[in-house]
């Protein structure tokens, strides 16, 4: 198991109710696990607690069967690549330089990047479809291009686990599909992925397992067909939905207009 987080709880200062209440998540090699749920449901908090950037009030996290707290940030960055929800640029770089930052955890302090590093950067840029942007400054990129550059940077880390917080939020259909296809391909190469997304339908088609969070609690953890049930979703999202099925067998969620019923 690459990641095993057990009974994680997080309490923000000044709040009496926990932002995360005893939630467990595990990701195996080659597995794509999607975390879904309404805004403020605890998805990003779960990632923060899992990665150690948020203090846990309870629970345990193990990476490759070793307690998270025993990992140095540098060692952890060689195992886990993360694309956070937001990132502001203070000093814009060239795309190639930006992706190259993903190699830093593998470089000695004053050593220049070697051929293996150059190759990993080029490969990451190719896979994330940003090779053509190599010399562009990051402050001239569109939201979607910047997002793909950040995915490339995480890939340049050559991680065993990718953690992505809404990586397709700013992407159009083509680039969104490319990211999901890329993630699926990486999974077949043995990389585990923990993905926060609002795209229930794409998650249903690509994820091996889904976790549905609501008000900091785990509502259900299972295969997409077990998680995406009309009654559960309507209750959690406070909006009526119907569930249909795509030709590949994946359940698909149709939000209903006011007055509509599933039967049409």
């Amino acid at each position: 198991m690459i990641l095993r987080a057990t009974n994680l709880s997080v309490c923000y200062p000044g709040s009496t109710t926990p932002a995360l209440d005893s939630v467990s998540v595990a990701v195996d090699a080659g597995e794509l696990v999607a975390i879904v749920g309404p805004n403020g449901g605890g998805k990003t908090t779960l990632l923060g607690a899992t990665l150690g950037t948020l203090a846990r009030s309870a629970g345990r996290v193990e990476i490759l069967d070793r307690a998270l707290d025993s990992w140095t940030p540098r060692d952890l960055a060689r195992v886990i690549g993360v694309v956070t929800q937001r990132e502001e640029m203070a000093f814009p770089l060239r795309v190639r330089e930006s992706v190259g930052l993903g190699r830093y955890a593998r470089l000695a302090a004053l050593a220049a990047p070697g051929a293996a590093d150059e190759a990993a950067v080029a490969d990451a840029m190719r896979r994330a479809n940003v090779a053509g942007l190599a010399m562009r400054r990051t402050d001239t990129l569109s939201g979607g291009e910047w997002q793909r550059v950040r995915v490339a940077r995480a890939l340049a880390q050559e991680p065993r686990l990718l953690v992505l917080d809404e990586p397709t939020a700013a992407l159009d259909v083509r680039h969104e599909m490319e990211v999901f296809e890329l993630i699926r391909r990486l999974c077949t190469e043995g990389i585990g992925t923990l993905l926060v997304t609002h795209h229930l339908n794409l998650a249903a088609r690509y994820a091996d397992r889904m976790l549905l969070l609501h008000q900091g609690r785990l509502v259900v953890d299972g295969r997409p067909a077990d998680v995406l049930r009309a009654g559960t979703l309507a209750e959690v999202f406070e909006w009526p939905v119907a569930i249909t099925s795509w030709c590949d067998g994946a359940p698909q969620v149709i939000p209903l207009k006011p007055g509509e019923s599933p039967a049409g």
Binding site: P73, A77, F91, E97, L101
Partner: protein
């Protein structure tokens, strides 16, 4: 990139020759070289005993301030940071003004008091900037710097308003910065303080690329942001305090030099830090040479020259950046 290093190398050599040649007694480049290598030459005393320590000290101070500026800009993720942002200068000024007002004349008294003042401000700002007892917050750090600066500024104002005219002039000139007190012993003291902080900052140059992305991203890419911020704060604090103690407050070097290098060579710190050191050093040596020669035999405070040259340059850079 080769052209950058070649240009900076030529600038360094040119600045050294200008710094050694200009002053109350003007020396041609040939005479400068002669004075440097021939102890019996007429120029040897001026060059070796007076100007060489001054030029080297100017280079070290200018380079250190530029490196500090670059690192602090990464630390608070704002290109407008400079080494005096964090309140050190206010503490140093308070120490120096106290010595002047008390009439202490020992040569070590003023640098020591300025260093102690800067160090105290450093500790105070650090303590104020800790959030939840241990995490260093960049925004709170800036506010803490402003608070300490304002308070020490008020104390300096109170002391100066009670001081005599001569004390007022001395304090004023000290605050504008100058390299007039440079000597071999003061250079050695400064170098002793500068070597380890500069070495540590260069060693961690890559980590500052990550720190500039924000704490969370930096951590995910392998840096330890809290440790790095403490290291950056303490090393730049010691460097700035040592520079201010010896030379007063020399402005604009720490602000504009990193800007200029970023425009030419990009923001990666493995290049930015050493290049800023060379450009900052060369810039201050040339500014000091001008300060000594434009109103010779009188001297302008070098801080006035760096601002007179720095402000227009900064304005041009700013316009080009915004365009």
């Amino acid at each position: 990139m080769r052209r950058l290093w070649l240009g900076l190398g030529l600038l360094t050599v040119g600045a050294m020759i200008a710094g050694l040649g200009l002053g109350a007694v003007r020396l041609a480049p040939g005479a400068v070289v002669h004075g440097l290598f021939d102890t019996n030459a007429l120029e040897a005393t001026i060059i070796r005993d007076l100007r060489l320590p001054r030029v080297l000290q100017g280079f070290l101070v200018g380079g250190s301030l530029a490196v500090c500026g670059a690192v602090l800009q990464a630390l608070i993720r704002n290109p407008l940071a400079d080494p005096y942002l964090l309140g050190l200068s206010g503490g140093a000024a308070l120490g120096a003004v106290l010595v002047i007002a008390l009439g202490l004349t020992a040569p070590w008294a003023l640098p020591l008091a300025a260093f102690v003042g800067a160090g105290t401000a450093l500790l105070l700002v650090y303590r104020l900037s800790l959030v939840e007892g241990r995490r260093m917050d960049s925004h709170v750090l800036i506010l803490a710097g402003v608070v300490v600066s304002s308070f020490t500024g008020a104390l300096v104002g109170a002391i100066l308003s009670l001081a005599s005219a001569a004390q007022l002039r001395n304090a004023f000139l000290w605050m504008l910065g100058g390299l007039g007190g440079a000597s071999w012993p003061s250079l050695l003291i400064l170098a002793a303080y500068a070597v380890i902080p500069l070495g540590l900052l260069m060693w961690h140059a890559r980590d500052f690329d990550l720190l500039a992305l924000g704490d969370e991203t930096a951590r995910h890419l392998g840096a330890d942001p809290e440790r790095l911020k403490r290291l950056a704060y303490v090393t730049t604090g010691v460097l700035t305090a040592a520079a201010v103690a010896q030379c007063g407050m020399i402005g604009f070097v720490g602000l504009i030099i990193p800007h200029a290098i970023r425009r030419v060579a990009g923001p990666l710190h493995t290049i930015l830090l050493p290049a800023s050191f060379l450009l900052g050093g060369g810039f201050l040596v040339i500014a000091d040479a001008l300060a000594r020669s434009v109103a010779s035999p009188l001297e302008l405070p070098v801080g006035v020259v760096t601002a007179l040259v720095g402000v227009p340059l900064f304005a041009i850079l700013l316009r080009r950046t915004l365009r």
